[in-house]
């Protein structure tokens, strides 16, 4: 698998040069003098490239093979974590990670899609595409959170729900629908963080929340640009146009009133500095959880409903009789 994207190539070339100089520096320390200049050049170039990324390039960043995933952030953000397995109905879906964690001393419930790293691991995690048992495991853990009054943090990173025969047999649509139903009624605080790819119903199934946040270079969409190009344009080559039309970037979603906040990423994207990214997410969700905890539970449920209630665009005559 190629580890960097086309538009990252010029930056990677400078990086490689810096690495070479570092190597040479071991025997000839004067070689090290060039490094700061190159580093500055690299940053400038990166800033320039990243200031004008297209929606399709952002989608590629969101799916970057080196982009940190749920399991990385669990290690980076929480002080303690115990994974819980299985939906108690059919199996343990490894595309969905669930467990108990500690955030600034308080116990929370963590749920997130996991795409996996490297070919073998990706297959184990089914590329982050859940079967019904993944959503039902998430549901079971959310009900645990409700029973013991623990805030829920979800990490969204999936191409979508898995399209397969067994998934249909075991009720893929019912599993997603049920999560939407239950999440809208839970009395505990829910924060959803889109860390990479938010693909359609499979993403939504763990992102009905009081606060929905997106990392700067994550995307969230009703359909993938590939799927959209194939269906609406009947032309797979129109991916870039489709990505543009779908308005799937964090900025778009903020403008459309679908999310509350954007968490900025380190220069070059989350994969350039996962530790820094983890800190930024941690700081934001700590603040949000604390604020949400001050709201009485019933009021929180009401506000969550009103939050969804507002989303949509339509027209209506001023005095519409019904």
């Amino acid at each position: 698998m190629k580890e960097y994207l086309d538009f990252e190539t010029p930056v990677m070339q400078i990086q490689e040069k810096i690495d070479q100089l570092k190597d040479l520096g071991k025997t000839n320390s004067r070689k090290l003098d060039e490094i700061p200049k190159l580093q500055k050049k690299m940053e400038e170039l990166q800033r320039e490239i990243y200031s004008k990324l297209s929606p399709w390039q952002i989608t590629q960043l969101a799916r970057h093979p080196r982009r940190p995933g749920t399991s990385d952030y669990i290690k980076l953000i929480f002080e303690d974590f115990v994974e819980l397995h299985g939906d108690r109905l059919y199996g343990d879906d490894k595309s969905m990670i669930t467990g108990l964690a500690r955030l600034e001393g308080r116990s929370v419930i963590v749920i997130g899609h996991e795409k996996g790293k490297g070919v073998k691991d990706r297959i184990v995690h089914n590329f982050g595409m859940s079967h019904p048992e993944g959503y039902r495991k998430a549901l079971r853990i959310m009900e645990l959170a409700e029973k013991f009054n623990k805030p829920i943090i979800t990490f969204v990173d999936t191409p979508g729900a898995y399209p397969g025969v067994q998934a249909e047999e075991r009720g893929q649509s019912e599993a997603i629908a049920k999560n939407l139903w239950v999440m809208s009624q839970l009395s505990v605080p829910i924060i959803a963080v889109v860390i990479g790819e938010g693909g359609s119903g499979g993403a939504l199934a763990i992102s009905v929340a009081d606060q929905m946040l997106m990392l700067e270079y994550s995307v969230y969409s009703v359909i993938s640009p590939e799927g959209c190009a194939a269906i609406l344009w009947d032309d797979p080559a129109k991916i870039s146009e489709a990505a543009e039309s779908l308005r799937l970037t964090a900025k778009d979603l903020l403008a459309l009133g679908v999310i509350e906040d954007i968490i900025p990423e380190p220069l070059g994207g989350a994969h350039y500095d996962p530790k820094k990214m983890g800190e930024l997410i941690s700081k934001t969700i700590c603040k949000k959880v604390s604020a949400l905890e001050l709201i009485p539970p019933e009021e929180r449920v009401k506000q969550r409903y009103e939050r969804l209630r507002k989303i949509g665009a339509y027209t209506e005559p001023a005095s519409s009789p019904s």
Partner: protein, 277 residues
Amino acid sequence: MPWFKKERHLLTDPRKVKFPEGLWVKCNNCRGIIYRKELVRSDKVCPKCDYHFPISVNERISMIADEGSFHEWNADLSPKDPLKFKDTMRYADRLVKNKEKTGYPDALVIGGAKMNCQPLALAILNFSFMAGSMGSVVGEKLTRGLERAKDEKIPFVLFSASGGARMQEGVLSLMQMAKTSAAVARFQSEKGLFISVLTDPTFGGVTASFAMLGDIIIAEPKSLIGFAGPRVIQQTIKTQLPKGFQRAEFLLEHGMIDMIVERKSMRDTLIQLLSFF
């Protein structure tokens, strides 16, 4: 959502299901050729295989509601083009075209009605309007209808036929899944009875939200119902799909629906069901 791809294929494409024009009609399920007049006489049910063809909103209302009892709610709620979406055609133009074709501003018709003199909310997804897809208008009308049924303490009966979420409204249509499911949750939490009837075809964002949340779920015979479209699934798994895959009978066998009801006994069945609550 990528339910279906646009290649010509032997598999039924749920977005293309329609009641065909002409003297002779080919069945969407058994591929048998039927004399049109015979089909109309049989409530548009295939005499060879019992497949239930899609019917219009007005046909549905007259089959289900007491005569003249239906009065529409929020009939003027109309779509916008929030993303200024353009594929091979501008979404704004597509909306105009579909309004001209169907006489409705969007894909959901909802209102108050009576069945055997008992009041209910009756909602029908119109497959003729952009494949019954759910955008902001469908989501908003459904949500308002559920809120009204909750306040009026009347049961809610819904007939679905949809290709899923409406791509042209992007994430706004995706979020309608959450919005409508939340409205169903509120309605049901107040002991509102929701009967969901799935008709051919119902897919994607509609099954993965309100349509599969009925207290009782009914399907018309042979209806194609699922999350992902058969074409996408076949492209993913690259083997033959099992016989009868995603048909109503398949869902019944897998425990996903309560019953399959023929069109001719739908009204009586609904009346009977409501009488228990």
